[in-house]
């Protein structure tokens, strides 16, 4: 009896052009218009610029006799990466275990909470400030406390990663689930769809692009938190390598670890970029 009026006015002005736009403007351009390489000429240009920059740094550092402990030249970093890799590799493994398990827990909880909470707008209003608090609080701050409670093992780190990733996934997924297109829901209802069918066939696919954005941001925040937690305490993980190498002033090795971390971050980005391209390209 009290269904809302606006479907016609809304779907006239907004449904087609509007709702695609607001998402692509904020985040989705990352999926849609990522840098694509088209020709051999472009590849050559990219390589040339990389050679000039890295070579230039190498040359400058050697020319001005910059001490190794301030900035090691790229060649020595590359050498350290190969030389120390057998030693660093297990730590990469530890970090990945923390990242993957913490992220999986956080993302799963975040997704379920987002799907449930968006069904109840009133509850959402009450919960919103706490979610915001979780998103904005750096979870690293809790690590010393978690270590006190759980010791120096995996547990405090996995908890910290889950706490960092979960709210990021949740807040983005909730934005996705809130994108209600009443015309599409009416379409499903006109065929007698149940609430569950509407969720899986309309709401979930519609939220997917925003969910992927949330997962990507959550994974990157998880990586930051994992490394940060490793730097605080416990004798393993890439973060621990960073503190160890810097305390021993082994700068080439230190930067080798930094390089691995950047690669990890890029890997996460590319992974979700490809998933988005495959499953959410309709948004563009």
């Amino acid at each position: 009896m009290s269904d809302a009026i606006p479907e016609f006015s809304k779907s006239r002005s907004g449904a087609k052009s509007g709702d695609g736009q607001d998402v692509s403007l904020t985040n989705l351009s990352a999926f849609a218009s990522g840098p694509g390489i088209q020709s051999g000429k472009e590849v050559a240009a990219i390589v040339a610029v990389a050679v000039i920059i890295i070579g230039g740094i190498e040359l400058a550092l050697r020319l001005f006799h910059v001490p190794l402990y301030i900035m090691p030249p790229p060649s020595s970093i590359a050498y350290a990466l190969f030389d120390e890799f057998p030693l660093i590799a297990p730590h990469l493994g530890y970090t990945l275990v923390e990242l993957v398990s913490g992220f999986a827990i956080g993302a799963a909880v975040g997704l379920v909470l987002a799907a449930v909470i968006t069904q109840f707008p009133f509850a959402e209003k009450i919960v919103a400030p706490y979610i915001l608090l979780l998103v904005t609080t750096p979870m690293l701050a809790l690590v010393p406390l978690l270590i006190l409670r759980f010791g120096f093992g995996y547990t405090p780190r996995i908890i910290a990663v889950a706490l960092a990733a979960g709210p990021m996934v949740m807040i983005n997924a909730a934005t996705g689930f809130r994108r209600v297109d009443s015309a599409k829901i009416a379409l499903a209802r006109s065929y007698g769809a149940s609430t569950l069918q509407i969720f899986w066939k309309i709401r979930a696919p519609m939220a997917l692009p925003m969910i992927l954005v949330g997962l990507m941001i959550g994974a990157i925040f998880g990586l930051l938190t994992a490394v940060g937690a490793e730097m605080v305490g416990g004798g393993f993980g890439l973060g621990n390598r960073l503190t160890t190498y810097s305390s021993m002033i082994q700068m080439p090795q230190f930067f080798a670890v930094v390089l691995i971390l950047s690669m990890l971050g890029i890997l996460i980005y590319v992974l979700f970029f490809l998933i988005g391209k495959k499953w959410a390209s309709w948004e563009a």
Binding site: M1, S2, D3, A4, I5, E7, F8, S11, R12, A15, K16, G20, A183, K184, A186, L187, A188, R189, S190, Y191, G192, A193, Q197, K201, I202, P205, M206, L208, A280, W282, E283
Partner: protein, 277 residues
């Protein structure tokens, strides 16, 4: 309103009343609206914007509940979405994450039925969308999207097709093309069609009857019979009769907008109309 015919209406709207409860107070969108649509008939509903056309159509589809009155399909009261009623929405309303085939399969998925492949293939061929099954909506023009939406609505073989300003967003050439397509499909299937539009020309070209709704609250103000034989050519649209009819309907709508609120006397007479066997 039934001119002498004894057959029961396919779709009977009786004293349909709809009140929307909004933050700024109650809004009477439909006021004791009466309308009979006979089987195999095409009826267009026109009226000033915001007169409750879409509300009436959504109530016919069972997607909206009425505040008062009732709508009957084949004599049975409509209480919710009905498998015998197909809807074509404004701006196609295809699901952008599904290709055309998957969009047309959607109703069957919801119902847990196997799609009728031969019938769908026939419909796709009818609307000229052969070989486009793998395309996504964004890859198609507005006209093609709306063709696909018509196929989706007809795929379940409804006996009534409700069309809610389906071609409002299309350019006038595409619109004429789509109008001819609707007539062809109607000649093919004889599906009862209720068609909402802003375009009087479109209403006249397509309909057996054009119903004019009054400005909010919506009620049936006038009704015109369109006597031209089918298939109708676009030349008919240039005749004197069509020109006069168009102008009369236009005056109804424009006059409505300027007219004062219905007097108590008029309201009373409407009430008398409402009470009938």
């Amino acid at each position: 309103m039934n001119t002498g015919e004894t057959t029961a209406p396919k779709l009977g709207v009786q004293a349909a009343t709809k009140i929307y409860r909004t933050a700024s107070g109650d809004l009477l969108a439909l006021d004791r609206c009466n309308l009979d649509v006979r089987a195999n008939e095409i009826v267009s509903i026109v009226g000033p914007s915001g007169c409750g056309k879409t509300t009436l159509l959504w109530s016919m589809s069972g997607l909206h509940s009425l505040t008062g009155g009732e709508i009957r399909l084949d004599g049975k009261k409509i209480t919710g979405p009905h498998p015998d009623i197909g809807i074509v929405f404004q701006e196609a309303n295809l699901l952008p994450w599904r290709n055309l085939d998957a969009n047309i399969r959607f109703p069957f998925e919801i119902k847990g039925e196997k799609p009728d492949r031969a019938w769908i293939a026939h419909l796709l061929n009818r609307v000229g969308l052969d070989g486009f099954g793998g395309k996504f909506p964004r890859e198609l023009s507005g006209g093609m999207q709306q063709r696909a939406a018509i196929v989706r609505a007809l795929a379940l073989k409804p006996s009534v097709l409700l069309m809610d300003e389906p071609f409002g967003a299309l350019d006038s050439f595409t619109r004429e093309e789509m109008n001819r397509l609707v007539e062809e499909i109607w000649l093919d299937t004889k599906t009862t069609i209720v068609f909402i539009t802003h375009s009087i020309e479109e209403a006249i070209f397509l309909s057996d009857r054009v119903v004019v709704l009054s400005a909010r609250p919506g009620r049936v103000a006038k009704e015109y019979r369109v006597p031209f034989p089918r298939p109708r050519s676009l030349e008919i649209m240039a005749t004197r009769e069509v020109f006069d009819l168009t102008n009369r309907i236009k005056m109804d709508i424009v006059g409505e907008r300027a007219a004062p609120k219905p007097t108590e006397q008029q309201r009373g007479s409407a009430e008398i109309v409402r009470i009938r066997p």
